[in-house]
Symmetry: C3
Subunit: 423 residues, 3 copies
Amino acid sequence: MSSRRDFLRGAAALGAGMVARAAAAIPEAPVRASAGTEPPPPPAAGRPYRPVVTLNGWSLPWRMNDGWKEFHLVAEPVVREFAPGMTAHLWGYNGQSPGPTIEAVEGDRVRIFVTNRLPEHTSVHWHGMLLPSGMDGVGGLTQPHVPPGKTFVYEFELRRPGSFMYHPHSDEMVQMAMGMMGFFVVHPRDARRLRADRDFVFLAAAYDIDPGTRTPRVSEMTDFNMWTWNSRVFPGIDPLVARSGDRVRIRIGNLTMTNHPIHLHGHAFEVTGTDGGWVPRGARWPEVTVDVPVGAMRAIEFDAVAGDWALHCHKSHHAMNAMGHGVPNMIGVPHDDIAGRIGKMIPGYMSMGASGMAGMSEMQMPLPDNTLPMMSGQGPFGALEMGGMFSVLKVRDDVAPGDYSDPGWFRHPPGTVAREWKG
Amino acid sequence: MSSRRDFLRGAAALGAGMVARAAAAIPEAPVRASAGTEPPPPPAAGRPYRPVVTLNGWSLPWRMNDGWKEFHLVAEPVVREFAPGMTAHLWGYNGQSPGPTIEAVEGDRVRIFVTNRLPEHTSVHWHGMLLPSGMDGVGGLTQPHVPPGKTFVYEFELRRPGSFMYHPHSDEMVQMAMGMMGFFVVHPRDARRLRADRDFVFLAAAYDIDPGTRTPRVSEMTDFNMWTWNSRVFPGIDPLVARSGDRVRIRIGNLTMTNHPIHLHGHAFEVTGTDGGWVPRGARWPEVTVDVPVGAMRAIEFDAVAGDWALHCHKSHHAMNAMGHGVPNMIGVPHDDIAGRIGKMIPGYMSMGASGMAGMSEMQMPLPDNTLPMMSGQGPFGALEMGGMFSVLKVRDDVAPGDYSDPGWFRHPPGTVAREWKG
Amino acid sequence: MSSRRDFLRGAAALGAGMVARAAAAIPEAPVRASAGTEPPPPPAAGRPYRPVVTLNGWSLPWRMNDGWKEFHLVAEPVVREFAPGMTAHLWGYNGQSPGPTIEAVEGDRVRIFVTNRLPEHTSVHWHGMLLPSGMDGVGGLTQPHVPPGKTFVYEFELRRPGSFMYHPHSDEMVQMAMGMMGFFVVHPRDARRLRADRDFVFLAAAYDIDPGTRTPRVSEMTDFNMWTWNSRVFPGIDPLVARSGDRVRIRIGNLTMTNHPIHLHGHAFEVTGTDGGWVPRGARWPEVTVDVPVGAMRAIEFDAVAGDWALHCHKSHHAMNAMGHGVPNMIGVPHDDIAGRIGKMIPGYMSMGASGMAGMSEMQMPLPDNTLPMMSGQGPFGALEMGGMFSVLKVRDDVAPGDYSDPGWFRHPPGTVAREWKG
């Protein structure tokens, strides 16, 4: 199996000369080695805005240059930890997949340098943006593909606030299946508009990585085994932390091959925005599950209620990790004896499930190298038995503004937990 | 093959002691042996409401106890008839899958006893409800999982009217794939609000049961072969009966792994509600097909027009029964000779389809034990050639309120049926 | 492999006698041999309307007969070119799949003759229409199936303007999987209402045709390899041409087995209609991607902006042609040596993809007979690397009304194309 070092070596070599040459005039391209959530500080310069929080991600710093906000994205192979115990060899930007979130303000003029350190050409499409046709980033159609080792420059004005994405439009199927994507938030010029106390963003991505391997199978169309938010799976996804009564916005983009119905417990919310703009107040529907289409963005908003509230894709296989498929259903079939006999023929064979699969998250299964248990996670009351696209919205009375650190588990007031009945 | 008796025996033994002990103080847990539609009577006590009709199901009786409405759900293995000729070994509640519909009124305080007679632990999540975090039913997160043989108690107040579901949040993928789910309707406090003359409810569930077997493969993610409404398939699904001019509401929940676009013939309707609440009048879209996302609920409403109107999922494989897959297309390929030669090698091989498959619903195919023909059903003008998620809305001028019995086929007035042209 | 002639011969023989007999009294059934886009002329008689443009299709001529508009559809085997280099043996209407678009006006009384030249029975359901139950076209339920060789007559009044479909409701799964479908547009009685300068229509259909064969596998449920608009794939799909500032409407119907999120670059649009009617202005959402459910119709509208704008399904495999599946990911794996050794064992084996797949659209791969490269198309700046459900909206300042001819590639003003950075 190729190591992280082998995987990254070839690519890094490609762009090195170019970067050295460019150091003086091109903006810095910061990278991140960690997959932790990094709440960005409010902007030091330019128009004010309330920054978003990228789940298990970060926002890209920029510099001002003669009225332009300059950003620098580097497309490159990356090693992403999906959760402790599993890493994937992906393609991303600035050291991670997804790339860093770009944040700017309505009316800003942005100049985005894109350096290609991949072994093949690429381009960047600014999904949802109204911009000149030549800045649209469709390789072959609106610009030449960006060859390996080169840096291309996009320039456009941000004409409307909203929730956008960036992703390649070159060898698009492969490059998105390898993890190339990022969020792009345009804040309103008037910081009092569209206000939220907490504003979380993430992108849904799906991978098909055979247990024991590290590189996604890019030609898979339906049968993925890693359903991720920002290329993380539960229990590797950070909780979303809020204070009771906070107006919370969650913006979700989908770059998989199927709809994701994201379900939030304990709250009814409204869908307030798409990548096309903000939904007029009178046109909003009340929901507890938002079905996010592919290639689309949904912003939901609600007033936070104290508690630990599950937030997850409601397709039940999407809230599981690998190994959820191809397992025969042994419910009702006693098979201890069969298992013994098969075990003699197939070392490592394990029989399970004559009474369901709940035991799986408790037992110590020998797993292949570099994969995750199908059902995982520990809560205050035992095993959570989840994976994939699952996290917890943790709402507390005493969270400080700007504090996103994990407050631990909710302490239920007496009489508010389901209890055993004593006959 | 294990029999119904074998399947149920182990589980029933588990909870027996507990039940005996509890008989005095715990409310009755009625069961049903039949999969017929049971129009519930209006409530005898408590706030008045107009009951819903659960397609091929029933509503759970309750008792009042010191201001609380008490219900008793028993999670247990069940044998469900999908349609005459096929039964499935599922897990459900109170003798059936799905479980009985729970009906109550906005403002009611409900106490729901959940007894676990499954061979593994479970819990119940009240999907869409606004309630204290500890009553949310997420095993491990908001409460301990409910072990086999135990009874747990949930208590909460119904804060808003709407269309909700209940289902496990323990070993969730397996338990939902085994059929554990039910409808939960909260009627408005003011019985004149949100009024409908007829109000039907059902849940979409998908199973993958190999022909000749009875237990679903719970690890399947996409390739199901039994697409059900309330764990029934056409022609096992009862018709929806209404009187001309009736305001009809149909509430549809989806606990499968894919969207179901439910298409109604002959009417344009509005989507009036979700599991998040009621859609404001000005935000409603006119539709003839409602795409019900996974983990979501849609209520549609229309004024009934006389006739026999197909109601079905528009994904054409979902309106078929098993055996619709893996069949090679022989259209245009004469293959009688080939079939003969293959038949000598593979007993039971049947060639079909050189001129389409319409012949299938007419011919007498030898089917494996415990499965259903792919295309089925007889109408007034011949074979219907459907299966799965298909039923007929039967609207007549002379149906009495409260009468849901099958009125037979529509008698078309002269000149309103497509007719052969005589040249 | 059977030839076009063999495929069509049997079927043509079926209906021949009937047609001869009918020639005097039945309206003409025009056919088309080409898959080109044929902008229809405005109506010569009857109520005025602004005709739609069927992408790679045409509208069916009609005649007036004593106050009725008479159309004649012939259901029959057809050979459809998906794109230059690949033809499919489908079933369709009047020489093509999809069938011709039917256009009429609110209030019109239409009489539609349907002649069956298929080898099995059929029927036509007028999807979305409000009509008498007997005209609804559900074989077995509302009428007898139409046997081979017979002509049936449907008569109904068009009660509301909108975007509808026609397709069989006999052996439905097979006949739709074989390509039987068409658009049905009802224009408003007042031609000033719902006005658009350009109004394009197409239907999404999916096929599973193994490379080297010509007939779809009709039992496939998820794993299609030909994702088409009007049974064409890129680069066989014509561009959509408009003048800057034009109000453009695109109506999209979906008769596949999955949602299609259709993404338009460079514009935010509104969803203005469904097959259920027109969305009230206050209920519309701004979008850049419209998720079209199965068995549903979406009309979108926007003001055209000059440029070349990609229009495509955002499920990335749907914007590819065949051969996108089952290919192992060789990214990061040097395999020239392995390829050589495999090549000795498997003639024709080709190794690819150690550095992505972008090279595929440039290299000359030996393809099997009658298939298309996975990634295809040439733009002004190089290979487009797309396929399937992809086309280009071409907006220019100098397009004349009624002119839909390809204007070539957009000439970007200086400074509006992403450019290489010189360090």
